[in-house]
């Protein structure tokens, strides 16, 4: 029996008057990559935002390594080791690459740990090292995604939520990013990956869930989902 890093039970979330999540339950086993698929507006980003505390769930529970975090504030959840890389990267455009990374390590105890973290990120993304004094806004889309992931790596998270890391990137860069995600997972980071690009997500993930208008409609091993006719028709698009 593998331990679960994350368990959602009957999660309900409202966006104003919109019922965005209608009882979502899912599990992310420790050490695995789980993907959450779905079309635009299905509630994928809302799910991640609810987990990381940016939005409050109206009911249901979120268990992170057995601890209910559904009432915790976002900044406290970060120090528990759950990091959310939001859709659209959201890097600090007027701050330098290095400052962005330092802020990724905001919760670290001291400067030495922060320096170590930055060195590690530079090993994984040498390109960021060359650009460390540049402001984040001058980076290309792919580099910004690297920075966003690098920022999340600063605290060596126990669980990483990635929201559409492939969005708007050239296919070659997407491959790069996916390789890094795989590498992070091999190093022991559990990952919940939200993607519109079902093809690459199912290649990477161990298990997948499909979300449609706020409800989970399908789940299974990635290998099985890749073969599933409905998935092929709706998301793999032949």
């Amino acid at each position: 029996m593998s331990e679960n890093a994350l368990v959602l039970r009957n999660l309900e979330t409202y966006y104003g008057k919109i019922h965005a999540l209608k009882g979502v339950s899912l599990e992310v086993p420790r050490g695995k990559i789980v993907t959450l698929l779905g079309s635009n507006g299905a509630g994928k980003s809302t799910t991640l935002k609810t987990i990381s505390g940016l939005i409050q769930a109206s009911s249901g529970t979120i268990e992170f390594y057995g601890k209910n975090i559904s009432r915790e504030k976002a900044h406290n959840i970060v120090s528990m080791g759950l990091i959310h890389v939001p859709e659209g990267r959201r890097i600090f455009k007027d701050l330098t690459v290095k400052e962005n990374l330092e802020l990724g390590g905001f919760t670290l105890k001291d400067e030495a740990l922060r320096r170590k973290g930055i060195e590690h990120v530079f090993e994984v993304f040498p390109r960021l090292k060359d650009r460390q004094r540049q402001s984040g806004g001058t980076l290309s889309g792919g580099e910004q995604q690297m920075l966003a992931i690098g920022r999340a790596m600063m605290t060596e998270p126990k669980l990483l939520l990635l929201d559409e890391p492939s969005m708007g990137l050239a296919p070659l860069i997407v491959q790069d990013i996916m390789r890094i995600i795989k590498q992070l997972n091999d190093e022991g980071t559990t990952i919940l990956l939200v993607e519109q690009n079902a093809k690459i997500a199912l290649k990477l993930a161990d298990y997948g869930y499909v979300l449609e208008t706020g409800e989970l409609v399908m789940e299974g091993d990635s290998a099985k989902l890749r073969e599933d006719e409905r998935i092929i028709k709706a998301y793999l698009g032949e």
Partner: protein, 306 residues
């Protein structure tokens, strides 16, 4: 030759006045940068700073004397206490509205309300009287030809420079300073970095209010007397300085204050324009500047509605 000396003398005077504007403008700009609020109570925070400094000098002056040591201690006490007052105002008046995602207009009106509260509060407490800042500082200084610069003036400018350098270090070199700059850009992203946004906003109010308090104490020492309405006009001027520099920009507030101070003293010296017209002159320049560079000297163009 005389004209030359007058120009130099007025530049010195302008820098002093500009220092006060800069210190107050910084608080305006920092708070605007971070929560997009024009904190109209900020001028009154400056005024309270002057009174707290006056009180502290009254208490500690008997032990430390009313020279530079006593004034420095009074300044630090005032900065600390008024910094806390700024945090209190944020927690009680602004944060509840921010939590409810109230429209910005409500925040603005609340700021006007806070301004009246502080203004009238101090008026009642002081019976609306002038208070005289009695210090033992003389008028000694250095004379270069017809230019006289008192030691008091030199120390004021130096003190302002030190405070600004300290602020610059804080904003650029410490994690909380970097967090402040990041919050001005993207609050949700900051939450995802583990930054306590409310606490950081509170800290911004502390720093901004402490700087205004420093200006208040220095103005009290420099001009010799303080009264409850001293914050009103200077608040507007500091706001103007922040806009000249580009509101939201820290270097902008520093430069904007100095520019406004210099313009204003220059305005008093122009032929046919007496000192009574100095405000017309400086606000006229402001209007011209805004016509040609609406975002101010350091401002970035972004579409804002107020």
């Amino acid at each position: 030759m005389t004209v030359f000396y007058i120009v130099i003398q007025q530049i010195v005077n302008g820098l002093i006045l500009g220092s006060f504007y800069s210190l107050i403008a910084l608080g305006y700009s920092m708070v605007y940068g971070i929560i997009k609020l024009l904190n109209f109570a900020h001028g009154d925070i400056y005024m309270v700073g002057a009174f707290v400094g006056y009180g502290a000098l009254g208490i500690f002056g008997s032990v430390l004397g009313v020279g530079w040591l006593g004034i420095a201690v009074a300044l630090l006490i005032s900065m600390f206490l008024v910094g806390l007052l700024g945090m209190l105002v944020h927690r009680l008046a602004y944060q509840p509205l921010i939590n409810k995602q109230a429209p910005r207009m409500s925040l603005l009106i609340t700021a006007v309300g806070v301004s009246f509260t502080l203004f009238n509060g101090v008026m009642v407490l002081t019976n609306g009287e002038y208070k005289t800042f009695s210090t033992s500082l003389g008028y000694e200084g250095i004379s270069l030809g017809l230019v006289n610069i008192t030691y008091t003036q030199i120390i004021m400018v130096v003190a302002t420079a030190i405070l600004m350098l300290a602020l610059y270090w804080f904003i650029n070199r410490t994690m909380y300073g970097k967090a402040m700059r990041a919050i001005a850009l993207d609050q949700d992203a900051c939450r995802l970095m583990g930054i306590n946004v409310t606490k950081t906003i509170s800290l911004t109010f502390f720093v901004g209010s402490a700087l205004a308090a420093a200006a208040g104490v220095m103005a009290g020492v420099y001009y010799g007397s303080i009264q409850f309405y001293m914050g009103f006009v200077i608040g507007l001027k500091a706001f103007t300085a922040a806009v000249i520099g580009g509101i939201g920009s820290i270097p902008g507030a520093m430069i904007g204050g100095l520019v406004l101070g210099l313009l204003e003293t220059a305005g008093t010296q122009l032929p046919f324009i007496g000192s009574a017209w100095k405000d017309v002159f400086s606000f006229g320049i402001l209007i011209l500047l805004l016509v040609f560079k609406p975002t101010g000297i350091f401002g970035k163009s972004e579409i804002e509605r107020m």
